[in-house]
């Protein structure tokens, strides 16, 4: 793919600041000082015709949203990614996770998340769709009363958020992205989702979910170059109480959505396109 990869310098800064964050986490009160982007983008956040903020570039410019820092929901010392998760907003020991779900998470990390359906070109909804690599766009189409989220990876697919005040339908058949309805609370887009199937993972953290999952995702844009993503996870099948985490997305100036086809070099019928028997050996 022809695209702008981060320069070595940018990568080093990211890694160093991540390490700094780990050190600072040990000192209460100083963690907030570990902001990666000391320079705030002072450009005004664009607004649409309806008066709400948009998640799009200012007129005449380009850009997409990308993962900033770890992009994990939980700090997890047992994560195969280890330290990279440690600047997450909550610690896995502090979420109300059911024992089976904790054991499942640990097992998944033991095998380096190799069983994640995402790696076999499945789309994933919820936080996983926001933390998938390369970037995404959040596009409001007011005359259709919808917000679309376009992913580059994540099966190069799209989520639809209904903004017309409708409710979730009854007897929803579970799907990868579930059914999402949204509304504005001030300048925060609040998205309520149910009806996600269990064929993909809701996060890169290896945290399981069940079809009982109910998500409330809050998207805001505190500055031109930052999206704050906060998600409340309510799933009585895997957790004992609702819990909240989130992460930031960063602006990738001048980048555009590009074609990414997971299947392009994924030509192993035995592992990717088999009859499903292999999948039953790894959760």
């Amino acid at each position: 793919m022809t695209r702008n990869y981060p320069t070595l310098k940018q990568t080093l800064i990211t890694r160093l600041s991540g390490m700094a964050a780990i050190l600072l986490l040990a000192i209460p009160g100083l963690a907030s000082a570990a902001q990666e982007d000391a320079v705030v983008d002072l450009r005004p956040v664009p607004r649409g015709e309806d008066g709400h903020i948009t998640f799009e570039p200012a007129a005449g410019s380009k850009g997409i949203w990308g993962r900033r820092s770890g992009g994990s929901l939980v700090a997890n010392p047992n994560s195969y990614e280890g330290p990279r998760t440690m600047n997450s907003r909550v610690h896995i020991d502090n979420i109300p996770i059911q024992p089976w779900a904790k054991a499942m998470t640990n097992y998944r990390h033991q095998i380096f998340l190799a069983s994640e359906p995402y790696t076999r070109c499945k789309p994933a909804g919820g936080p996983r769709s926001i933390m998938s690599p390369y970037g995404l766009e959040i596009v409001s189409v007011p005359d259709q009363q919808r917000v679309f989220i376009f992913n580059i990876s994540n099966a190069m697919s799209y989520r639809i958020i209904h903004m017309d005040g409708r409710d979730h339908p009854e007897n929803l058949r579970p799907t990868y992205f579930g059914h999402s309805v949204g509304h504005w609370e001030g300048d925060t887009l609040v998205v309520d989702t149910i009806g996600m199937n269990e064929k993909s993972w809701m996060s890169r953290d290896g945290l399981p979910h069940t079809e009982l999952l109910h998500l409330v995702e809050r998207f805001s844009r505190p500055s031109y170059d930052t999206v704050d993503y906060t998600v409340t996870i309510d799933d009585p099948g895997a957790y004992t109480a609702p819990w909240t985490s989130g992460f930031e997305l960063g602006w990738q100036e001048d980048e555009e959505l590009f074609e990414y086809v997971c299947q392009e070099n994924n030509l192993s019928p035995e592992s990717m396109l088999g009859d499903g028997r292999l999948s039953k050996t790894v959760p």
Binding site: V139, S157, E259, V261, Q263, L278
Partner: protein
Amino acid sequence: MKKSNTWLLICAISLCTFHVQAHHPVAAKFDESNPVTLTGRVTEISWANPHVHIFIQVDEALGEAGNWAIELPSTVELERSGWTPEDLPIGDIITASGPAAINGSEQLWGNRISHNPDGLVLFSTNEDALGVLLASRPAGPSPQWPDGQPRLGPPPGGNGYWINTGSGSLVEEGQGIPMDSLGMLDNINDAARVAPFQDWALDLYRLRQASSLKDDPGFIFCIPPGGPRQFQQAYGIQLVEQRNRERIFVLIGGGNHNWRQIFTDDRDQVSQTGGNDDNPLFYGRSRAHWDGDTLIINSTGFNESFWFSNGGLPHTRLLQLEERLTRTDLNTLHYAVTVNDPGAYTRSWTSSWDMQWVPDEELPQYYCQDNRL
């Protein structure tokens, strides 16, 4: 057990047809000359795409002992005909009949499934369901933007998508060659008239036809439907015009449920959306402009890793497309494509068909890779 609904009622009073040819390359997998009938206990239902499977345990006393997979159409077709997996409880006994797998494995295509002992027919697809829906649409003129330009998507606040209900393959304008919805020719001797093929391309087209399209990468590997093929999809497309950003998204209902971008900002076809001459794409690089009420889309930069039409017509990296979209009224989108590929054809040629508006429905959330591991 499911009570009847509108589609089932229609199904009951008209014809409930089952066509192996109407779906994916089923003919490549199942042998219609070898029909089997099996009775067994349901062990599992995989309600997934591209095809639903019901697994039954057949006892020695009831015939071919083993755990048989009964393959059915996609969830979209079954749900459109009013069925859900809850219509068949696990553990119930069913009788299934249809052609057995060519390779001798314990699989059959489920032409008919009946519930025991009441004999109720389950999971029959009513191929008229969509036709009945389309016949009941209100007519009207093409919706417009405030400046009078036709809208390619829903009327403001509305919902719906485009679907190809025709025979559905690329055929040079005026040839009128009979073929099914997969582009399988009724008569292989018509092959040379489908398009102005170069010799090698005609040979390859004939080979793909003769093998019932079994090597279609769009089915085997879920390779995306680039080019005209996305306008042949059974599960529709949605067009989202984002005029302030000078681009149009094609949302593809079937295939891999991908998006494709068409730019209307006069950009060069260089290095956009990640593609360049060294990195050709499945959806190519597309830019468009309006000519009156017609959107003219020019695309280049395609790779050779996909089939750009059903039916197995070949193309090369030299492929250039000019696609023309004209919404002639509320319910009709005329799609015309001029194919210019000096690598596979002897001259440029044109094909066209009408897409039909499916009102008030969401684009199906179909993923080819759904029931793949």
